[in-house]
Symmetry: C2
Amino acid sequence: MLAKVYVTLKNGVLDPQGEAIRHALGSLGFDGVNGVRQGKVIELDLADGTTEAQINDMCERLLANTVIESYRIEIA
Amino acid sequence: MLAKVYVTLKNGVLDPQGEAIRHALGSLGFDGVNGVRQGKVIELDLADGTTEAQINDMCERLLANTVIESYRIEIA
């Protein structure tokens, strides 16, 4: 089974990488880019029968830093 | 308007970061993790009226390295 985990910075947490992208888009002539935030997608190829609770556990313990990041699990 | 761009490595391109995550999950006792690939999500807050063609252009010129990465645009 395939699961996708989306990890994004929580609101209010500074995102210098996103800010750099926003600036670079402006330099390339793209107007109207008000804000950019960058996050991660982690695609997991898991053994069948892995529960969502287990994936949640993976996120809490390794994939996301829950102090500053939030995550969303999508099971395909 | 809000657009999300998902950038992932193409199949066949080595992903050492994903491999490191797979190994770390194994070390933490999570069995049955067959493969992990890591990609990026870029959330763009754009002026209303920005076309998908323009977002496509942003991807081709800055957000993705189309030699090794593919991208998918999602407009919210």
